[in-house]
């Protein structure tokens, strides 16, 4: 294609340019499975994965991150990790993904290829196939470069039940690593606040680690990936859904120095920063060590630790026990966190 390194509306029109783009960018990156997408749907033989009592888990998320590329990953990495993690925290073994792309006219095809390569690579490492997809092109200015929607399918083995409403008094609250790095990395990568620091998104596919946790400790009661809204939002939802009080230990919260620094400078709280490779696990205290030691066997779990405990049943509360022996209530913010001067 002469002089055609940019996405044009023709690439989305269902004609020859569309086929050429699908073949040259997607099929070549996502491999043989993807050619099923040239049909209207992919047909997947799930019997082999499927015992009596198995269920299917389905999740979907749109990825609209800006900038597309940031320290620690890109929108493609996110689109695979986010969806794979949503399956994993429901106790599902991720099976396959669909990927729908909305592209802005004028997008350099090279950037698209970079994103697609990240997806293919991340999917390979997470051991899932991208089996079907879609590509739309909209006029310049009607979308911000690339949005990706991935939908994941997974198989939940018989007996596995992890839900948000099962937390009980005495459960330990665990995380696999430092909190808020993704939110911090994106905030800096946007460049509009003039701050710089060595912060990388924690973006990672957690399904291998979570699979191991569930095999080792089937008693895990709640697992959530703490994405948008952060650990604070996830714990607040768990407290609500399970009707329990959760107490965090201020000293135990793992926050990287730089992420903490960003929060100090802008008056923000890392508890509400997004993560993309962070799982919150609630498990009876007796099994907490077992879960932590499985986490530590995985690269994403090197800084795993207990950050709190479910202390009471009967009233949804979330608070922090401070270093001074006081309690600080945690309330979900209303909307986006904005940098403050006061």
């Amino acid at each position: 294609m002469r002089d055609e390194q940019l996405i044009t509306l023709a690439h989305g029109a269902g004609g020859k340019a569309s086929s050429a783009l699908i073949q040259s960018v997607f099929v070549s990156a996502f491999g043989p499975h993807q050619d099923k997408s040239l049909q209207d749907a992919a047909v997947i033989d799930v019997q082999q994965h499927f015992g009596a009592g198995s269920r299917i888990a389905m999740t979907t998320d749109s990825y609209v991150v800006s900038p597309l590329f940031f320290p620690g990953g890109d929108i493609g990495t996110l689109a695979v990790c986010g969806t794979v993690n949503d399956l994993a925290v429901c106790g599902a073994r991720p099976l396959c993904l669909s990927a729908a792309f909305i592209l802005e006219e004028g997008l350099p095809i090279r950037e698209l290829q970079r994103v697609v390569a990240s997806m293919a690579d991340t999917a390979r490492r997470a051991n899932v196939s991208i089996v079907t997809g879609d590509t739309k092109v909209v006029a310049k200015g009607q979308v911000d470069k690339v949005f990706i929607t991935t939908t994941g399918l997974g198989v939940v083995p018989p007996g596995v039940q992890v839900r948000s409403d099962q937390a009980e008094a005495g459960d330990a609250v665990l995380v696999n690593g430092p909190i808020g790095d993704h939110g911090a990395a994106i905030m800096l990568a946007r460049g509009d606040l003039g701050l710089s620091a060595d912060v990388r998104s924690d973006c990672a596919a957690l399904n291998p680690m979570i699979g191991d946790i569930l095999s080792a400790v089937p008693a895990c009661r709640v697992m959530r990936d703490a994405t948008r809204g952060g650990v604070g939002a996830v714990l607040s939802e768990i407290a609500q859904a399970s009707n329990v009080a959760i107490a965090l230990d201020e000293n135990a919260l793992p926050v990287r120095l730089e992420t903490q620094g960003i929060c100090e400078l802008l008056g923000l709280d890392p508890l509400f920063f997004a993560n993309e490779g962070l799982v919150v696990v609630l498990v009876p205290q007796a099994q907490a060590e077992a879960v932590l030691s499985v986490m530590k066997n995985h690269p994403e779990g090197q800084s795993a630790r207990q950050i709190g405990q479910v202390v009471e049943q009967g009233q949804p509360l979330l608070y922090i026990n401070t270093s001074f022996g006081t309690k600080r209530m945690i309330e979900l913010p209303y909307g986006i966190q904005l940098p403050r001067i006061c």
């Binding site: 022996g325 600080r328 309330e331 001067i341």
Partner: protein, 376 residues
């Protein structure tokens, strides 16, 4: 090497609390009511709740949360003007993130942005200059708010805009000054405050001496404090010692950054650029020496010259707000608190910014903790 963490050390906190609690008891007993301490600054309010100092000290000290949040007191008129400027074609309205959710009479800047206005959050007013330089075909308006701490940075930015010959940036200024605000408060009959924790960062600019009228004219002791738990407890200890000993002085517990004279360069920049006036502030009323205009030298940078004529009017706010502000009522004792008045739908100034007393109570769930409520 300066180590901020030392000012957060639990053993130090414990030492101070152990000193303060019996002293507070004695001072409160002497008055047969809890000691009413106003921390003027919203930052202090948050720091107190964040570390739980109120819990550590107990009911002998009752905290009266002051008007020291430039966002909370911002009049609806100011927001309306900012929105009108943001909606002009080709305009970029730059401001601090705090301001976006403050309600004017026709919604917030966040809502105006949702309707298509170009509103950009910056960390520093200097970043607005950069915006203006990078987008010469746009007209940047910086919506400037803040007390004496923020004003010098704004003044300096306006000076820099003139030095650089920029013609596509203007400033909509709504600055309130601390000392006149405190005086305005203390002139009210109903005020029930025994002493003040003085704001740390404003004092860098003003200098400790600026507070002398508080002690001399109104007979209230004041101790300037930093924002770490140790700073605050230290200041509280010093304040209680004054009250215990019957002294009434201005003391400085934040001497690592605050001196007596203040920052002269900062004051000079302010004097050169800002024009004083009387302005009506939410919850506070009219405060002299406010700033919403520029001196003749800088008038070209005053965004009010580009402002469409807007309906002027005083903001309506519930009477409870003033009672909270004067120490006569706690936020959770307001009948609107947590019901009609919430951070997402503030009825009064104290719920607007997360620095506001009511917002802080709401955020830290103070109402839910079932602490005994002491009437002032």
């Amino acid at each position: 090497m300066f180590n901020r963490q030392a000012f957060r050390a639990p053993p130090a906190v414990k030492t101070l609390v152990d000193k303060i609690v019996p002293l507070a008891r004695r001072v409160a007993e002497a008055r047969q009511r809890p000691v009413q301490v106003m921390e003027v600054c919203g930052g202090h309010t948050h720091a107190i709740f964040h570390s739980g100092i109120d819990q550590l000290i107990g009911p002998d000290v009752e905290w009266v949360h002051g008007p020291g949040c430039p966002v909370c007191v911002l009049p609806a008129q100011a927001v309306d003007e900012a929105i009108a400027l943001a909606q002009q074609p080709g305009a970029i309205l730059a401001t601090f993130g705090d301001v976006l959710r403050v309600p004017g009479r026709h919604g917030t800047l966040a809502q105006a942005s949702a309707q298509g206005a170009n509103v950009q959050v910056v960390y520093s007013p200097m970043d607005a200059l950069t915006l203006a330089q990078q987008q010469p075909d746009k007209r940047v308006v910086f919506f400037a708010i803040g007390f004496d701490t923020t004003m010098p940075g704004i003044a300096f930015t306006i000076q820099a805009a003139r030095q650089q010959g920029l013609t596509n940036i203007q400033f909509l200024c709504y600055h309130i000054r601390l000392i006149p605000t405190l005086i305005r408060l203390l002139e009210q009959d109903s005020v029930c405050i025994d002493g003040f924790i003085g704001p740390g960062h404003v004092s860098i600019v003003l200098g400790a001496d600026a507070y002398q009228p508080i002690a001399r004219r109104f007979g209230r002791p004041l101790v300037i404090s930093g924002f770490e738990p140790v700073d605050l407890l230290n200041a509280l200890l010093m304040l209680l010692q004054q009250l215990d000993e019957g002294r009434c002085e201005i003391e400085n517990a934040y001497a690592r950054v605050v001196n007596n004279a203040g920052n002269l360069a900062a004051k000079a920049a302010m004097a050169a650029v800002f024009d004083s006036t009387v302005c009506h502030w939410r919850g506070v009323g009219e405060v002299p020496e406010s700033v919403n205009g520029l001196t003749p030298d800088y008038r070209a940078f005053d965004a009010r010259s580009s402002l469409p004529r807007l309906h002027q009017g005083t903001d309506q706010e519930p009477a409870y707000c003033a009672e909270v502000l004067t120490g006569n009522r706690k936020p959770h004792q307001c009948p609107h608190f947590g019901h009609a008045c919430q951070p997402e739908t503030p009825m009064g100034p104290l719920m607007v910014s997360s620095e506001g007393a009511c917002a802080a109570y709401h955020k830290y769930n103070v109402g839910k903790c079932k602490e005994p409520c002491h009437e002032g």
